[in-house]
């Protein structure tokens, strides 16, 4: 009886280690490239376009076959089924069909007995082009209305009138850089042809169902012939939401044509050249505000550089628009999103999915307003926060409920000692002519749900075997975020058993069909609920059975800490399972979940696209050398809202990691293309992501305590994958604060993102020039 009174040690809310932690540290965790190979294994290499825009005049693959070990060389003509593998709308041929539209587009694919042989053979093919005029610049595309998809607009009130009547008015523009995913495991798929023209696909993908559909289409079979298995990714970050499909489909086509098992793993440079990145954005703004910096009106243009094809750009630019308010009431607002087509790789999902770009735009505007008024940017931010009773409706007409941004900011302002440090930094900067410190506190409000409403569904499958062990499968994919651990905790909680009893198996399209991608931070929200649904179905059967069997009421049956209590009698969980089996009770169930309440009317640009919002705030302090532009991260304090945490150890890990990635995006990670549209930063030598020494020297992360999600989410938790990414904006604003100190905070540096040391140095020069001009004007006066 004592055992039954104890709480479960591994249920919801506990710090359970990641289910693969032991295997991660022993090297035993199996990634796709670690799987056993077959004696007749083929390896695929794709020959890429070296032109940004050209007609293909000739492809001769005959020279490929002169290399010993080559099995097959294919072009678009050899694809048995549908050529296009576009995710939502067509536009992405598996292999270039008559023309190429970016440097890096796959033109032919060669399979051989080794990757090196395949590479040599692919380079031996003869490909002739006739060059066409490329569009490489987002501003040029915007001017020419060169779009991959239609534009969209959110409109509330009359922004033109509000701008005209506001006491102050500012205009400006801003370039926001993209970001390479740099998952440490490059894109990879390994396929095995099966009987009945089928295909088994092992892939590193966030979207097994989409891989299943596209593989079926390119090899021209129904989806039921294709089984996709996905155990774990070596990082995804959005980069494996749609763009894992290329290697999977390429390998499948070759396996179909040759009958041999086929693998395609991208070399790092090819991965960076072929696949799309976070969308760079070009932003134009016109804002009107009062003496407190409070916005009266805004006219905002968000132009996403989508690359050559639509991919997910429709939803990504939408999300930028949905987050152009961040935590602020915009007043009368016109927000317009454009999907610009350029001859570069097709940009795609990346943690935050456009949201970060929209938020950087409005945070830049907050800084611009603050410098213009001579106010602390934090004051201006607070004046613009959404209210709780009024000023609480977004520019797309969703009411902001359970708004906690003001109190969260106040708590972090106190715990980080922002005001004291702000004064000390001002004093330090007065005494220090070369080294300058900067500080900034920025908020995050991030909408949770796929904005394509139908995607907000999930399935799960739970079996209990006769020994009492539990098999759990769900439609989400594990990419390091701890999803399998969290979903297992949910099932452990529902059955009141230890997590060791539960085996989460590889995501598999044979087990749970028609799944949504693991994206939009929704993995635990959706799949946790689906698994809970399956577990409750089985538990209800067990309770009904036990009530019948022991002749008690259902209320007399209680699951607790690996046992089942039936009035005074206590059975180990597995004994009840045995009994239930012998009494012919089904011990298996599917589960399903769909998110309630959400809708969005695209025609009217109104709705409730988000089930709820996740909040956070970060305060960052930096030190800048104004002679070189180089800087150091001194300290960052974070307070972040995850509702009632399913697993604080995993959630804090997500917050820390997301912040680092956001900081990298806005500081050191710079993508550079040359005049011919070739990505110059195509490897780790030239594209720098944060390393251990780039971390803030003092890094303090806290979760908001005792604040359940008011919505009925899985155990009232909140999504955590993406929201903390945008905490990194604090570092970018802190760098601008340090630069602004050079001009006594009277001029806004208005740096483009990322604020590389080079841009910081230009910013310092710009401020010095502004001061010199100002001095001249004062002298003349």
């Amino acid at each position: 009886m004592a055992l039954v009174r104890q709480d479960l040690k591994t249920g919801v809310g506990r710090k359970i280690p990641h289910e693969s932690a032991g295997k991660h540290v022993s090297g035993e965790a199996v990634y796709i490239d670690d799987r056993l190979e077959f004696p007749n294994q083929l390896h695929v290499y794709a020959r890429l376009s070296d032109r940004p825009h050209a007609r293909i005049l000739k492809i001769d693959t005959a020279p490929c076959y002169e290399i010993p070990g080559v099995r097959i060389a294919i072009t678009s003509k050899d694809v048995p089924g549908q050529l296009d593998i576009g995710a939502v709308v067509p536009g992405d041929p598996l292999l270039a069909d008559g023309k190429v539209e970016y440097v890096g587009q796959p033109v032919i694919a060669v399979a051989a007995n080794s990757l090196e042989t395949a590479r040599k053979a692919a380079m031996a093919a003869v490909i002739e082009y006739e060059d066409l005029e490329p569009v490489l610049c987002v501003e040029e595309a915007l001017k020419k209305k060169h779009f991959v998809l239609d534009s969209h607009q959110h409109k509330r009130g009359d922004s033109a009138k509000a701008l005209a009547s506001a006491p102050h008015r500012l205009q400006g523009s801003l370039h926001i850089g993209g970001q390479e995913h740099f998952y440490l495991e490059t894109q990879i798929s390994s396929v095995i042809p099966t009987e009945d023209d089928g295909m088994i696909v092992y892939t590193s993908s966030q979207n097994p169902t989409e891989i299943q559909k596209l593989v079926a289409e390119v090899i021209d079979v129904p989806m039921h012939k294709v089984m996709v298995d996905m155990r774990r990714m070596g990082g995804g970050f959005g980069g494996k939401e749609t763009q894992a499909a290329g290697p999977a489909c390429m390998a499948a086509v070759i396996a179909r044509l040759t009958g041999q098992p086929t693998k395609m793993r991208l070399p790092r440079v090819d991965d960076m050249t072929i696949t799309g990145k976070r969308h760079p954005f070009y932003v134009e703004y016109d804002v009107g505000f009062d003496d407190d910096g409070r916005l009266h009106g805004i006219d905002l243009t968000l132009a996403g550089n989508c690359g050559y094809s639509p991919d997910l750009s429709g939803s990504i630019v939408d999300r930028a628009m949905f987050h152009a308010d961040n935590a602020y009431y915009l007043g009368d607002a016109t927000v317009t999103g454009y999907r610009c087509k350029t001859n570069t790789a097709s940009n795609t999902a990346y943690r935050g999915f456009g949201g970060p770009q929209g938020m950087v735009a409005i945070e830049s505007i907050m800084d611009h307003i603050a410098r213009t008024l001579g106010r602390d940017p934090l004051d201006v931010r607070k004046h613009n926060y959404y209210g709780t009773e009024d000023r609480n409706v977004t520019h797309y007409y969703q009411t902001v409920e359970d708004n906690q941004i003001a109190e969260l900011t106040a708590e972090l302002e106190a715990s980080s000692e922002y005001q004291r440090r702000r004064r000390e930094i001002a004093e330090f900067n007065r005494q220090s002519p070369i080294l300058k410190k900067g500080i900034a506190m920025t908020p995050v409000k991030f909408g949770i749900s796929f904005t394509a409403t139908f995607l907000n569904q999930a399935g799960a499958l739970v079996h209990i075997y006769t020994d009492g062990s539990i098999h759990l499968n769900h439609g989400g994919t594990e990419m390091g975020q701890g999803l399998n651990t969290k979903v297992a905790q949910v099932v452990a909680e529902e059955f009141q058993v230890d997590i060791d009893r539960i085996q989460v198996t590889a995501t598999n399209t044979d087990k749970v069909p028609n799944t949504s991608p693991t994206a939009a931070s929704s993995g635990a929200d959706l799949n946790g609920k689906a698994a809970q649904n399956a577990a409750i179905t089985i538990r209800n059967r067990l309770v009904a059975f036990a009530a019948r069997h022991f002749d008690v009421t259902e209320e007399d049956v209680e699951f607790r800490n690996n046992h089942v209590r039936v009035r005074e009698q206590v059975l180990p969980f597995e004994e009840l399972i045995q009994l239930a089996y012998f009494n012919q009770v089904s011990l298996s169930s599917t589960g399903f979940y769909r998110t309630p309440k959400i809708f969005y009317d695209h025609e009217k640009a109104r709705g409730r696209p988000f089930y709820y919002f996740a909040y956070g705030a970060a305060c960052s302090e930096v030190l800048v050398d104004t002679l070189t532009g180089e800087y150091r991260m001194l300290r960052t304090d974070i307070l972040h809202d995850v509702g009632a945490s399913l697993n604080p150890a995993i959630d804090i890990g997500q917050v820390e990691g997301a912040f680092v990635q956001g900081m990298g995006w806005l500081t050191m990670e710079e993508l550079v293309w040359n005049q011919q549209g070739r990505l110059a930063t195509n490897g780790p030598a030239s594209y720098k992501i944060p390393a251990v020494a780039d971390m803030p020297a003092d890094f303090r992360v806290q979760l908001v305590e005792n604040r359940k999600n008011k919505e009925d989410t899985i155990f009232n938790s909140k999504a955590v994958g993406e929201p903390p990414f945008m905490l990194g904006i604090a570092t970018w604003c802190a760098l601008q604060d340090a630069v602004a100190s050079v001009g006594d905070y009277r001029f806004a540096p208005l740096l483009d993102a990322p604020a590389t040391p080079e841009r910081v140095l230009w910013g310092v020069e710009k401020i010095k020039q502004a001061m010199a001009r100002d001095a001249v004007v004062e002298t003349v006066d």
């Binding site: 440490l184 495991e185 990714m233 990419m479 780790p684």
Partner: protein, 154 residues
């Protein structure tokens, strides 16, 4: 034949592999899959092993250059995954996607084995060549300190 010792076992490998990077010899010939490919340029650290005790990027070391040497991979770090660093890694909840972690652990193990003082500066210096896109650095630093405190130098 080219002779190398890997995790205490002697191997004789074909001369044809002389120019093959050690990474691919370990993975494809010896079937030791714990050492990962990340960039192939020695810049990400995912393939870090110990070569004659020193942390080394296996993708940059041709087998010929490893001839006669001793190699230790993640599989040889401990018998049962119980090296003080491996235990500390789990205690501190370090791994997220896990892909870079074998390399991180091998760099950290070399730092501890070197006998150098373990502090923020030495950790940053020893670990700067190992990148982690999940951003687990804060926990990596804490785990190394924990292992050092618990006598992980052995």
């Amino acid at each position: 034949m080219i002779k190398i010792q890997v995790n205490g076992r002697n191997h004789e490998l074909s001369q044809d592999l002389a120019s093959t990077p050690l990474l691919w010899v370990l993975r494809d010939k010896l079937k030791l899959k714990g050492t990962k490919f990340g960039c192939g340029k020695g810049l990400c650290g995912a393939c870090t092993v110990h070569f004659n005790g020193n942390p080394t990027r296996a993708c940059q070391l041709p087998l010929s250059a490893a001839s006669g040497g001793q190699v230790r991979t993640i599989e040889g770090l401990s018998e049962n995954g119980d090296h003080p660093l491996q235990k500390a890694w789990i205690e501190e909840d370090v791994p997220q996607c896990g892909y870079c972690q074998p390399g991180q652990l091998m760099s950290a193990a070399a730092l501890l084995a070197s006998g150098a003082p373990v502090d923020d500066a030495s950790i940053r210096a020893a670990m700067s060549g190992n990148i982690c896109r999940c951003g687990t650095y804060g926990r990596i630093v804490r785990a190394i300190k924990r292992a050092a405190d618990e006598g992980g130098r052995a």
